[in-house]
Amino acid sequence: MPTIRIDDKDYEVRDGKNLLESCLALGFDLPYFCWHPAMGSVGACRQCAVKVFKDEQDTRGRLVMSCMEPVKEGLRLSIVDPAAKAFREQVIEWLMTNHPHDCPVCDEGGSCHLQDMTVMTGHDYRRYQYRKRTYQNQYLGPFIHHEMNRCIQCYRCVRFYRDIAGGEDLNVYAAHDHIYFGREKEGVLQSPFSGNLAEICPTGVFTDKTLKAHYTRKWDLTNAGSVCPHCSLGCNIFAGERYGEIRCITNRFNSEVNGYFLCDKGRFGYEFVNSENRIRQPLIRGRLVDAVSEDQLLEYLRHLTGNGNIIGIGSPRASVETNFSLMQLVGIDNFYQGVNEDTAFLQKRVTDILESGTLRSNSLRDIESSDAILVLGEDIWNTAPIMALTVRQSVMKTAFSQTVQQISLPSWNDIAVRELTQEARGYLANAGTSGSPLDKLATHHVQAAPDDIARMGYAIAAHLDPSLPPLSKQENELTARTGEIALALSLARKPAIISGISACNEAILKAAYNIAWALKRMGKEVGISYVLPECNSMGLALTKAPSFEKALGRLERNTGTTVIVAEQDIYRCLPEEQAEMFFSKCGKIVVLDVLHNRTTERAHVLIPSASFAEGDGSFVNNEGRIQRFYKVYAPENNNVIEGWKWLERIGGGNERIDQLHTMIEKGLSQFAGISTEAPAAGFRIHGEAVPREPHRYSGRTAMWAHLQVSEPKPHQDNNAPLSFTMEGYKGIPPAAIIPFYWAPGWNSVQALNKYQEIPGGKLTGGNPGVRVLNESAEPRGDFFTDMPEAFSARRGRWLLLPAYHLLGSGEMSMESRGIAELSPEPYLALSMQDAVAMNATTGSTMVVQIMGKAYSLPLKIAETLTDGLAVVPAGLPAMPVLPFGSWVEIVKK
């Protein structure tokens, strides 16, 4: 740890950092724009100037940009030096010469980095007397609003969009003071990570258009830390509320999970919370008046559940707590997973592998720091977007670390590192049934049928481990590739293997395991990731309960069985006839859910569940990390409460989450640690709870005045050490309960620096979340040896596979208008050759025949798809649920 001298005081700082990072880590306020902890330094904005001095004798010193200057033992610098201060103030004055003075009407106002830096430098008087330059704005799609006049040309947007996200359709144009940031022509931004522009941009050029639709200043939002409910990665988010509506989602930093970024589904998929389609009232159907009071409901349900002939169906999108409470209510043997047989089977394979402790279950952070990655059979771009972004960073960083070693360049010197690295990339092999934008980045990419991908995986493992039988013969070009892939993995220090269940193929999961285990036996620091479909798929799978289809026999035997479905649409799990058949065998059907869907239509008793935003709970992400989300606001409608609370009420149980956690730990040892994931509800700092509202929250005595003039009593929170007001502890709380970022002088998201040990590093006191799937100290394992047969196309039949769409396949996110707008129309994709053989062209109507039913879909030709595969989008509301992984007949109409 070098010591540097800042304004005549010595400080120990971390080696290998630049002066700006070091000063910020020490808590100094030093303004900056172009530097970003996740993107490094480029020295463009010149905002971060400090003075450095050669030695004791040097009194003049020289100005340097602190972001471009490495830490050196004994270095002397001054932040408060008058010349440095004057220069920093001057940089702001330059930036403000053309900046519109429109803060009152700017969406960024109040959470604006430029505002903060302007105040920080003391610039307050305008000497520039001439006209400001003006630009035309562009339409950039439903998510991002563009207001170019506010641009301060820090280049962060293009650097994020291109260098980090790999997007291509946003760039910088022209030169000198005519620089313009936008698209070549107006149009929807193509990157599914575009939403991060709203946080990356330090001014109001790129802002959240969905927030604009129901705008609220940052200081007027009620917030809580939460977990994204839209995929299995569990990205940490903040949700902000005003007037009973979620207004925006922003990134909540967790260096082991999502880091600084979110995907557009996560950021903009929140509108279901505010949807018209919400269930708001308990119903008992078939009465004179369906709507019932809570007491009527509870009485009815206690009666209904009393006789023991009952089963419960949990859900991969319900919280751990809700699934557990249901399990408790119905009894452990009567609890089933709300996923179909195939999914349950595949997920069990995953949990068996991960629970065996043979391998490390990788966090996203582990993936980022890997130096070779194999993605086997999972379309992570669409099923786990932030994992794809992480893979991209890993591939770039591997290339960077190889090049910076050559000339000992600090890795934060982004501009120089990229120039040195040029087009070199770290190792990535991507094997999938359909192509992926990741292929552009990959050294090897392969498109094949799932069984062939699995065979390839087995063959790679056989290359790595001599104890495995090699493939009998090099049967095709796929197996020929395996040697190269195996070699690349074996040269890595820390390889990462990624797979998942979306290809509906067990052999792929096993092959991925084999490769990882072979690498492990070679002494590699290897880890594995399996992507699952939903936010709590892992949490549900860990219950080890059988799939609900397993209950069919028993429903047939015992007629009149009461079935409680917690937050799952059975019609999304099974093809229509099978779902109908299932329901026909149920007795009374009780459904708890957030939104109306086809299953809630079948319910005799319907109960409104809180969404992630109105409730407390935990999800287990694909890595096996239990993460806590907090109620953002207490809805006016007190029928809208967590699923688990309803179930506890029915069962006469406890409504305190802390007690529930203790019971979960007692009942299900696989969740051990859940009680420690976050501070208990009674936790206080200096006797105070942590406020969900910023201390500048306005209008609370007036905001409900149109309904009632007296200020309502703030809601009490029994389940979190958070208050629903602006009163409480103002400092930095433990990481798990941070409700928003704010620090004196730092109103924008940049305040995050104050919450981290060092900028870009862990949150102070450690990142939240508890891992429940851990590698054992002395791992033992066996290889799988049951390799599948090679795929061969069949005459007149196709293997039906799902295509997941980042925007479109998500059940809840499709309630967001922008996401629905950008989602694809239904289609059926076939290879060029198959299409030609059927005399079909793009747009031809194709008929898929499944169990006597016919589904018509327009044809898309997928040039690189394997012959004999048929791909249809999964999860679109307009698409029927089809039996993925099975062989179907297709004819041209």
Binding site: N171, E184, V188, P192, S434, S436, P437, E821, E825
Partner: protein, 177 residues
């Protein structure tokens, strides 16, 4: 699917809608660009050369030409335009039959380029950045042409004129129809 929709599955594409004519690069243009590509480590490093080649041929780089270059070099149009708009002498708007570059840097300033400009303005009826209505000339200001010892200087297409006096303009312009 409407064009405005983000298709996140790369492999599922419509067959390319190649249109003949100005929206595609000519065989000759491709051959020249191919040669430039052969000299650099990766395709897109040849983009400035490609822009020059296309502009040489078509006088300016239209959106369609830009798209064609982008496709040929496996780049996004935004990336090509980012480069194209940086440089002074890649024309992203139509230019006249002759491009006239008047040096307005310091030596020419001292030696009277301002008068020359006034004279050109009068004669052609246009200002810097504009094209005459008969499409004959586009008049642009230019940085130092490197003949400061013969200032003021003027370049029309590839021809350099030195020590230009306003009264000589008539005779010079005559050569360009």
């Amino acid at each position: 699917m409407s064009q405005n929709k983000a298709d996140t599955n790369a492999s599922i594409q419509q067959p390319s809608s190649a249109k003949p004519g100005g929206t595609e690069l000519s065989v000759a243009e491709r051959a020249l660009i191919d040669h430039e590509i052969s000299l650099v480590p990766y395709r897109k490093a040849a983009v400035i050369e490609a822009l020059k080649i296309v502009q040489q041929n078509r006088r300016w780089v239209s959106d369609e030409s830009l798209d064609a270059i982008a496709r040929y070099l496996d780049m996004n149009a935004a990336e090509v335009d980012s480069v194209a708009t940086f440089y002074n002498l890649i024309f992203r708007r139509p230019v006249g039959r002759h491009v006239m570059l008047l040096c307005d840097s310091v030596s020419c300033y001292i030696m009277g380029c301002t008068e020359l400009y006034r004279s050109l303005q009068q004669r052609l009826g246009i200002e810097f950045g504009h094209t005459t209505s008969d499409n004959r000339f586009t008049l642009l200001p230019n940085c130092c042409l490197g003949c400061c010892d013969h200032a003021p200087a003027l370049m029309i297409d590839d021809d350099l004129y030195r020590d230009v006096k306003p009264m000589e303009l008539e005779g010079i312009l005559k050569h360009y129809e």
